[in-house]
């Protein structure tokens, strides 16, 4: 155990096991607690990638709201450069990546990958270099913003590194292409462990593993096996396995049937976007990528919307809610709750809404309304 974690354990006394989670939890739990101690005296450093398009405006929004809520975070801003950095082979500089590795926590706005060849996609670079293995997306109906579905409250946890997105394709002969889907025990165990730990720490009752093991027997079969093994360690959480086509059907008919969903890469991509659609779209959905060693990079998953960039029309909700996820990861739960309620109340009130939600407020007005609600 690290020195900080050891001290944390002694100082927390007999509540330590509750706070630090089960003994099998990964080291990120320890580091989060140790970090929470440092927040009372020094500000926490977090990397901020404003991104492109509407990125800078909504990042500004986040900074304002966080300052108004007295969150002791020092932002370490990094921008995507216009030239390829040879050390990373992408537009993200080495310093940016190092900053996230050092600070262990970050917030990312939308990044538009320039079209062209000879460099890696920005998101792929971040994922590979920072070893971000799980993508967590909570989807819940926002009270006051009516969609066709009112009772959605679920979390999708998607394996982020392998599966169908390994990028291994080749042409066998002309007209015949093969794409390889890889599932490993290591990655599947990692994401299953995280999913159950998340369910436990957030008081969730059910975890559903989504698969297509009746057809892809060995690959999804291995994924299911790993989920089964981890499930046995958490007998208090109800565990079920659902075939993906069933899952899609049940989600559009009755999303209240689901709680936490854990799945491999491709299914996760599709299901998490489907769930985002149920609650109002990508403009309202927060997301957080978890990496090894306790790294957490929260991000807004919508695009950079170049057509409304600079016009003060963008909706900062997704980035703000992602910021809240980041705060919860840092165990700054009180302020996370404050900001979260402020956002929900502002949207529920309906007086200040940006154009995509059917209102006519500007970004700055919306942000000010949230600060007032704090």
């Amino acid at each position: 155990m690290t020195m900080a974690a050891f001290l944390a354990r002694r100082l927390l006394g007999n509540r330590s096991s509750q706070i630090l989670g089960t003994s099998s939890s990964s080291s990120d739990a320890f580091i989060s607690v140790a970090r929470a101690f440092s927040s009372s005296t020094t500000p926490i450093k977090a990397t901020l990638f404003p991104g492109d398009g509407i990125g800078p405006e909504i990042a500004e929004s986040v900074k304002q709201v966080f300052t108004a809520a007295d969150v002791a975070i020092e932002w370490d801003e990094h921008y995507v450069s216009t030239e390829v950095d040879p050390r990373t082979n992408s537009f993200l500089t080495w310093e940016s990546l190092q900053s996230v590795l050092d600070n262990k926590v970050g917030l990312k706005g939308p990044m538009a990958t320039p079209i062209g060849k000879g460099h890696r996609s920005l998101n792929l670079t971040l994922r590979k270099e920072l070893n971000l293995y799980a993508n967590v997306r909570p989807c819940y109906s926002l009270p006051g913003y009516k969609t066709r579905y009112d009772d959605v409250d679920l979390i999708t946890i998607r394996e982020n590194t392998e599966g169908e997105y390994s990028g291994l394709e080749h042409q066998v002969v002309k007209g015949v292409v093969e794409s390889i889907k890889i599932i490993t025990r290591k990655a599947s165990m990692r994401v299953a462990e995280y999913a159950f730990l998340y369910a436990k720490t957030h008081g969730r009752k059910k975890v559903s593993a989504i698969h297509k093991a009746n057809i892809m027997q060995k690959t999804d079969g291995l994924f299911l096996q790993c989920c089964d093994e981890v499930a046995k360690k958490y007998p208090e959480i109800y565990y079920e396995k659902v075939v993906i086509d069933n899952c899609c059907m049940m989600l559009v008919k009755n999303p209240a049937l689901f709680d936490v969903l854990v799945m491999p890469n491709l299914y996760g991509d599709i299901i998490s976007d489907l769930c985002a659609g149920l609650v109002g779209g990508l403009g309202l959905t927060p997301s957080c990528n978890i990496g090894e060693d306790g790294i957490a990079l929260a991000e807004a998953v919508h695009g950079s919307a170049p057509d409304i960039a600079g016009k003060n029309l963008a909706n900062p909700t997704a980035l703000l809610l992602s910021g809240v996820m980041m705060l919860r990861h840092l165990k700054l739960n009180k302020q996370a709750e404050q900001i979260h309620s402020a956002i929900i109340n502002t949207i529920a009130e309906g007086k200040y809404r940006t154009a995509d939600l059917g209102g006519s407020s500007t970004t700055t007005d919306f942000t000010k309304a949230i600060c007032d609600h704090l």
């Binding site: 066709r148 579905y149 169908e164 997105y165 990028g167 394709e169 080749h170 042409q171 002309k174 007209g175 015949v176 292409v177 093969e178 794409s179 390889i180 889907k181 890889i182 599932i183 490993t184 025990r185 290591k186 297509k212 093991a213 009746n214 057809i215 892809m216 027997q217 060995k218 690959t219 079969g221 291995l222 299911l224 396995k241 075939v243 993906i244 086509d245 069933n246 899609c248 059907m249 049940m250 989600l251 559009v252 008919k253 491709l266 991509d269 599709i270 299901i271 998490s272 976007d273 489907l274 985002a276 659609g277 149920l278 779209g281 990508l282």
Partner: protein
């Protein structure tokens, strides 16, 4: 096809008060001998399969439709389709099937997939539409999902590289992509559909889905009157949930087609009512459009609450395929009237009727 029956339904609704004036469509002129009864292979299958196929048998009997069924007993746990069943399908060219339950986890390869591969049923079609009188969260849904049925992620080529690392191959060939694209555009052309959308993930799987898209684009050029566009599969699912009216015909590779078909079926009323089928160059197998995994749900079987509507509508599709259009129309209108009335509905549609009660209601409404 569905436009014609909807018009028929509108006419019938207008004449519902018994004004006595029947508007009839212009005559379908058969060849001499077309009325001879046709043999159709029937596979009841597992779970609710026997219940719903029995429903179809009863209704066909009541209509005196010129078909007779050759029934075969097949179960999902069998490792192979029995050869006499395959022979029967090859002889009759048309088959109606309840569900076959595929055991999860290992050992037995799905019989459904085997059947499709052996008969080369390369196109799977699911028609998802709002039924008048059945309330759903989404209106104006009328989507046909045409899915490549033989390759892609379901090629079944998996192996363990080292313990703990497993690979699965997704195979896309130009040959299969081209023929499914051709089928989709041909379907749209013959059924007066205006738009074909290709669903893909070519931003990530550049070569595999890229090849699929290329084939679609080439075929699209030959049908200039049909609008063609492309959409990425995750965006597609989001749009289906938000604005399903923008979709018309969708053509997809194997896995995405499964997901999109089930999502579309879910928004339009559930898998209990959506018809579908699989077709190849020489054979056609009709079954419930989208699978809900209810094939194995014993509770539904015990209480006789399975919804026969999907298979009844699929058998109407089959009757059209066999060129018996007026029988197909009669069956479809009867089913639609029963749903529109709302008195006789099974549990998945929010009612309390049993399968038999729905069948009786449909038979009563046949004219």
């Amino acid at each position: 096809m569905s436009c014609r029956s909807l018009n028929l339904l509108k006419n019938l609704a207008r004449n519902a008060n018994g004004s006595g004036i029947q508007t009839r469509s212009v005559t379908y002129m058969p060849r001499p001998g077309d009325g001879a009864p046709r043999a159709v292979t029937l596979i009841p299958g597992d779970g609710i399969g026997p219940l719903v196929t029995n429903a179809v048998e009863q209704v066909m009997e009541a209509m005196h439709a010129p078909i007779f069924f050759e029934k075969y007993d097949v179960h999902g746990e069998m490792s192979r389709m029995p050869p006499e069943v395959m022979e029967s399908i090859r002889k009759n060219k048309v088959c109606l099937k309840g569900g076959l339950k595929t055991p999860v986890g290992g050992g037995v390869s799905s019989l459904n997939v085997q059947l499709r591969k052996e008969l080369d049923l390369f196109a799977s079609l699911v028609n998802c539409f709002n039924l008048p009188g059945l309330p759903t969260r989404h209106e104006n849904v009328d989507i046909v999902v045409i899915r490549e049925n033989t390759e892609g992620e379901y090629a079944g080529l998996e192996h363990e590289v080292v313990p703990g690392v497993v690979e699965s191959l997704k195979v896309i060939t130009k040959f299969c992509s081209e023929r499914i694209a051709k089928y989709a555009f041909e379907y749209a052309y013959l059924n007066n559909r205006k738009k074909v959308t290709a669903v893909h993930k070519a931003n990530i799987m550049k070569l595999a889905d890229g090849l699929f898209l290329e084939s679609c684009r080439e075929v699209a050029k030959k049908y200039p009157s049909i609008t063609y566009n492309e959409i990425i599969v995750d965006n597609c699912c989001m749009q289906l949930v938000a604005k399903p009216e923008q979709f018309d015909v969708m053509v997809t590779p194997n896995l995405y087609g499964n997901l999109v078909a089930n999502t579309a079926a879910g928004i339009a009323g559930g898998t209990g009512v959506m018809p579908g089928g699989n077709v190849g160059a020489d054979h056609a197998v009709f079954e419930q459009g989208a699978s809900a995994g209810n094939v194995g749900k014993d509770k539904i079987v015990l209480e006789n609450k399975a919804n026969p509507v999907a298979l009844l509508l699929s058998s109407a599709m089959m009757l059209r395929h066999l060129q018996f259009p007026s029988f197909a129309d009669r069956l479809e209108t009867a089913v639609k009237k029963v749903i529109a009335e709302g008195k006789c509905r099974t549990k998945d549609l929010g009612g309390t009727s049993t399968t038999q009660q729905v069948v009786d209601a449909v038979i009563a409404k046949l004219d």
